[in-house]
Assembly symmetry: C2
Homo-oligomer: 337 residues x 2
């Protein structure tokens, strides 16, 4: 999937900002691509970028209407369909994070066919992947792993992409979730891939590369999560990670959506090394990333210092304290060849 940029951000008439969470994420990480927003009467979200009509967006070079919002009920409302069809008629592609497929709405499918426009459904994929081969390929790969779901794996690799590029390193964010696909303009929502092809899909989106090139692969789930461990393992094997960063949220008491307790950071490190060794025996941890949002500043710092000392790894909250320590460790552990 390759989404043409820049984007016109469609916010519809969502009732709150949470419904536009994906759109905010795209705008935060790719402000240059988010040329304008299109809002309908009653919209409670605002990305803080210019409101634009279709002709205005086209004049600014927009190529794709991005639907980075969720709609209640899973059905695309008629007044959204009308706007989407108008965007296609005007010459835009459409990329959607909705559960419903764009092509399943006859008016949209028809308009896209007639005008020769692309429809991207980032939650779905019809792409055929080979099965994973598990053989080492050139280039370096870093994967974020977690004690749980939703603990900052995407944020950490995006912050690392920025931080590593600032140091002159050749590093690319590699998306495996829907928001990430919008942010990178490519990739695949790995949770939409049929089970047999998880590791093969990861091998496909992070192909052989130059020896010093880093693919920073967005992790998913946790090897300790009873619902999603299979996805995490397929990702780990397909990534053939040289390095991984463990992501953690310190206030959580049970894993997201289930009753299982969280594993310790050491358990997560050990199991990722153990299982990751199947496709890359040299896999090693290079840092810890903690979402300290719920903690005061001094409390957060104390926790990070404690974790760093305990594990012999740099520990940071990328939002609060940046990723310099992680990049230092990556540079030290992986000298350029």
């Amino acid at each position: 999937m390759q989404i043409a940029t820049p984007y016109l951000m469609f916010l519809g008439d969502v009732p709150d900002t949470l419904a536009a969470k994906t759109a905010y994420g795209i705008k935060d990480w790719r402000p240059d691509w988010c040329v304008g927003q299109m809002r309908l009467p009653g919209c409670a979200a605002d990305l803080g970028i210019p409101d634009m009509t279709l002709p205005e967006a086209l004049a600014k070079g927009c190529r794709t209407l991005v639907i980075g919002v969720v709609n209640a009920g899973g059905v695309l409302p008629d007044h959204w369909v009308k706007e989407i069809v108008a965007a296609i008629e005007a010459g835009l592609d459409v990329a959607s994070g909705l559960h419903v497929k764009l092509g399943a709405v006859p008016a949209i499918a028809e308009a896209a066919a007639r005008r020769g426009r692309q429809l991207h459904d980032v939650r779905h994929t019809d792409e055929r992947f080979p099965t994973g081969k598990g053989t080492k390929r050139a280039g370096r790969r870093l994967l974020t792993v977690g004690t749980d779901c939703s603990v900052g794996k995407k944020y950490t690799v995006l912050a690392l992409e920025r931080g590593m590029r600032e140091r002159g390193l050749d590093a690319d964010f590699c998306a495996t979730g829907q928001t990430g696909v919008f942010i990178s303009g490519r990739g695949v929502a790995i949770d939409a891939v049929v089970a047999d092809f998880i590791s093969g899909a990861v091998e496909t989106i992070s192909p052989e590369a130059a020896p010093n090139h880093w693919d920073l692969i967005e992790g998913q789930g946790s090897l300790f999560h009873p619902s999603f461990a299979g996805v995490s393992l397929g990702l780990l094997h397909g990534a053939q990670a040289d390095a991984f960063v463990v992501c953690h949220e310190p206030t959580r008491t049970t894993m997201r959506g289930v009753k299982h307790p969280l594993p310790t950071l050491q358990q997560v490190i050990d199991l990722n090394v153990q299982l990751g060794s199947l496709t890359n025996p040299a896999i090693r941890p290079v840092g810890i990333s903690v979402n300290t949002q719920a903690l005061g500043e001094s409390e957060a710092k104390a926790l990070l210092e404690k974790l760093a000392a305990e594990h012999g790894l740099p520990a940071t909250d990328p939002v609060r304290f940046g990723v310099a320590g992680l990049v230092d460790r990556i540079v030290a552990d992986f000298p350029e060849v």
Copy 2:
């Protein structure tokens, strides 16, 4: 997915018996359901059951035309479409193991809609599963796991179903692959499920049951296979296996389709216990199942004796020597409550 039985087995005009491998598997394990076969001129396969016309099959009570063959090229040939449409017109459902979806062929879709017949594509699923919950449910579950793919996992659970029922135990085969779905008339091809829902799908097909009831769950892949380990882990977590049998093929030197060496039986036992403990801390091995086809009888017996002694587990080739030892161990380890 619930396929109405009995079956009329469609063999088309396949050029060899290998192309009808699924059909042979169904006939071996469910001879009572395979009332007749339908072959076209030039067909090189023969299930050894009566050839039937549609009216004959209907008179014998057939409910579903089963396409348990593979077609070259992935496209359904016109002369097959004609026969399938005729079967639908005559009142049969159709269940297919083809890569192409039945409903994607307009003539078939149209006939099924008009006649109100079901189309089952066992390689595909549109069924929505919840995500896995990982909480213990009543009833007992046995899973077959493997040192590799294609080492007898399906055969072993089917032989156990037969052997346990003969001992008066309440045991059901639980299919997770396409041939298995035909054999049980239900289940889901787990490799067709979207990655996030693997463990949830297994929880769904093996729901809460009576305390002494056994679900014998067909395993897939191997935790050590770089292409499919994620599927195997999702299955293990969703199955919450109380017991597992390790399946093995002793002549294989690398894992199927890749260059990785095979793990040892002990490694497979240890890793399944370690990872399976997440959703069932009481998980334990109850036996070893070896495909000894490539070995002479005395060589096979010597190998099984050696493995049994080494691991303290019953070891057998279910095809050659039956499953009595495995059932003995299951009965001993899991007294009825």
